[in-house]
Symmetry: C2
Subunit: 217 residues, 2 copies
DNA sequence: CTCAACATACCATCTAGTCGGTTTCCTCTT
DNA sequence: AAGAGGAAACCGACTAGATGGTATGTTGAG
């Protein structure tokens, strides 16, 4: 992404066709709008099946505007990944830094990542399905950041195992991959119209994780 | 897919450029070769980024041959899905039909699906990433079959909960989605070069599942 | 003589990205 | 206050290259 954003809301409809009542054409800044629209469309139809033209049309801007703010279509996708990873890392760091017992922190983090994932289901859909559409460099970057996230989570589990709060019959890496597999897959089956609230799902998921780590009597 | 296959191995290299030592050009029937090549390429680069031309070139056949056996590129993908679902369903039905205690069957099925998934990692990669590239009809079909699979697995868990062998503090549907999320995601992190064998991973995964279902004392 | 099993040339369509041009806005000078 | 100057913010027509699919032709077996 290119940094130079004036940040303002812009003077709205230059062309007469602008409909100021649909959300995408509203008072948000152009790059923001593009990112929002791209997220929705990528999640709906996939990266390769979403054309740049469609993105800019939906966002009520022109191609020129988009290529002014973003280097490429790829860059748009990379930005989405960056946003997701930033958010998740921040939340996890916050929880990991708390002072309660480790089992409590793990449970909290486990439930929280579920709720956050559901709150951004489109992001989740994209991020587990579109990694290979990024350039090799950007893929590496994403993977590295994700690894750091996993590492932090893993360190909590290891601590629990060392303290005896968690069983250690399964290596912590496996546990982490196991759990985040489940989390990432929320986007394939969870529907907001369903009966279960995000918090309930989060509770269940955290419970499953903690129970699977419960030490034997 | 079109049924008319002679099934034979075919008269090999028609064109002079045929290299009979690379596996794809070998003695397998043309549709089989196409399916094998498509599976590898779809897993490697994604469905949309793999051109029909590339598939037929790699399989050492021509476009005409391919469109003779398959209706479309979509059809190729649909065939891959069908193959995966057929295999997994067969295995699960076998295990579910055994006579041991339910916890044993669940554990067996859980470990087996991991091993099978790892044995067909390309299939797994494709099936969790490319569903949306299928036509709506075929998507529905795949989903229906997958649902039937999940239902069978779920019924075992429900039985265990009713018998008191499993805890029931988490609904069985959630448990199933939770577990298969983990399984599907194996393809994103498991590498054959790693230290852990498929059976070991299967053991760990089954253990995590069973432990999370262990009833409280 | 027929039909499956291919082969080959071809096309209509779409797509990411570019590039020269124009408008809008801020700033600095006079 | 006026206005010149410059840069950022956009516009939109255009291109070069793919791509899925088809139409038509050929071959060899039964």
């Amino acid at each position: 992404m290119i940094v130079r954003t004036r940040g303002g809301t812009g003077a709205a409809g230059s062309s007469a066709a602008g409909s100021p009542d649909i959300p995408e054409a509203a008072e948000t800044s152009v790059p923001r709008r593009l990112l929002a629209v791209a997220t929705r469309l990528f999640a709906e139809k996939g990266f390769d099946r979403t054309s740049v033209q469609e993105i800019v049309d939906t966002a009520n801007v022109t191609k020129g505007a988009m290529y002014h703010y973003f280097d490429s279509k790829d860059d748009l996708l990379a930005e989405i990944y960056a946003r997701v990873l930033r958010l998740q890392m921040t939340r996890l760091e916050e929880i990991a830094g708390e002072s309660g017992p480790v089992a409590e922190r793990v449970g909290k983090a486990a439930a929280d990542v579920v709720v956050t994932t559901i709150a951004n289901l489109d992001d989740a859909t994209i991020s587990f399905r579109s990694l290979h559409q990024l350039s090799a460099d950007k893929q590496r970057e994403v993977r590295a950041k994700r690894r750091r996230y996993h590492e932090l989570f893993r360190s909590m589990i290891v601590q629990g195992q060392e303290e005896g709060a968690f069983a250690d019959h399964v290596p912590a890496d496996i546990v982490v991959d196991f759990y985040f597999g489940s989390v990432h897959h929320l986007s394939t089956w969870y529907r907001l119209e369903g009966e279960l609230s995000p918090e309930e799902i989060g509770g269940y998921y955290a419970r499953l994780l903690l129970d699977s780590l419960r030490p034997p009597e």
